[in-house]
Amino acid sequence: MFETIFVDAANWLRNLLISINLSPFVVEVFLHVVKMVVILVFVLLNVMWLVYMERKVSARFQCRVGPDRNGPYGLAQIFNDVAKLISKEMILPTHVNKKMYLLAPILIFAPPMAILAVTPMGEGMAAVDLNLGLYYFVAIAGINTVVVWMAGWSSNNKYSLVGGMRAVAQMVSYEIPLLLALVGVIVLTGTLNLNGIVDAQKSAWLIFTQPLAFFIYFIAAMAEANRAPFDLVEGESEIISGPYTEYSGMGFAFFFLAEYANLLVMAIMTTTLFLGGWLAPFGWTFIPSWLWFIIKVYFVIWVVMWMRWTFPRIRIDHLMNLAWKFLVPLAIANIFVTGLAKYFIGI
């Protein structure tokens, strides 16, 4: 019953709408709007939870307690944070490029939302079952760069500018190993459809058949999502807050939350592509598929946080060297090996 709860809900809604004699076109449009709203709510809830989780997890790693003053276990801290950020003034410094400065925080949420629309979060639970899902993910992930650059450039602050430049350099460089690592996945699964990729992992998760690709993908995705040790874009000990230095109030809140939205997207894609998506390990199907998905996603997020609170930040030239001199050749070798294996063994 729990297994299909969301699919059933969608079908019920569709049947309801059809039963009141709406045209199929209108029904589909309405259903998509509903799905978008659900994804929006899903992202916002997760992001708010992630803010709290990061604070708690980092506290645990640093032998502290973390927020525990507001509500039980400090859970009300989430709402207090958001309320504080909303109620603060969004300062508009004098020499900013106004249109871009105000547009950037609005646009920053678009790419993660767009990606989440195609990810299957449970059996048959993708808002849009896109044939080119994986390719689409790569394409949309690149858009983020522009928005971060907009924020950095329009702020008219040198720290922001340096941050924006770093964002562009880092994200463009890591797009390439990311893409190349995914080629191995595509070769093995023979599909670009995310549902298809999950289905193809029924025998063995791709993390076991493509460990190298997973390694490259994981590093590149962390760099794409600006997570430590690749958080050079923010690099709070060097360039204050990078592109977000000048933002305050809501503007800052949007960037701050988008950071976690990107983390969520990164974890979701890792889960989908390498950890078997919503598939239940050991045949434990008594836990619904979407719950398995959430568990895996949060495990990935926890690992990322673990790394963030352990490692120091890498330097920009090391970062570039890592991408171009280490990850790209490794990814190409991986493609080659995968291709050979596929050709000769025919996995």
Partner: protein, 169 residues
């Protein structure tokens, strides 16, 4: 009907942002509008059942080319950015030329009687594209790859050489 509405929306979006690209005073804003143009084109492609091309459009143009242009603007533009995209005196010539081009194309298109082959574009177009691209057109494909490599090398050389001579002066 739905397709028509989508077409109208996309066309308005496309032409509007394209006009903004050539009229906005600030080159950076113009480039951001260019990204909107590319997204609209991608939308048109989806309308034309070319999903793969739409994603290529986003990946190459919106993700790659626009970033390159943005970078170009940043390295090139040193004076005030507000008036960086002004028109020169030739716009008086340009307007008749533009209208001429448009009219010729429009009239030719309107006079022609199209007989569309009423066959739907196959789903999952990438499965059909790949064999054509890698069997029938493998030589142009490789040529394109070489072209890209040559262009990249050339671009690097151009930028680097000037940097060296700049150091000397």
């Amino acid at each position: 009907m739905g397709e028509f509405i989508a077409f109208i929306i996309l066309a308005v979006c496309l032409l509007g942002s394209a006009l903004l690209v050539v009229t906005l005073r600030d080159i950076v804003h113009a480039v951001l509008c260019l990204i909107l143009v590319f997204f609209s084109v991608a939308g048109i492609f989806i309308l034309l059942n070319a999903d793969f091309l739409a994603v290529v459009q986003i990946l190459v143009y919106a993700g790659g080319v626009s970033i390159m242009v943005v970078f170009g603007v940043m390295t090139v533009q040193r004076t005030q950015i507000q008036r960086s995209n002004s028109a020169n005196s030739r716009f008086l010539v340009a307007i008749p030329v533009v209208f001429g081009t448009f009219l010729v194309a429009a009239i030719t298109a309107a006079r022609n009687i199209w007989t569309p082959a009423n066959v739907p574009v196959p789903e999952n177009d990438i499965k059909h594209l790949a064999p054509i691209l890698l069997d029938n057109y493998v030589i142009p494909f490789e040529a394109a790859a070489i072209l890209l490599t040559v262009a990249m090398t050339g671009a690097l050389l151009l930028v680097k050489e000037v940097k060296d001579s700049g150091n000397k002066s």
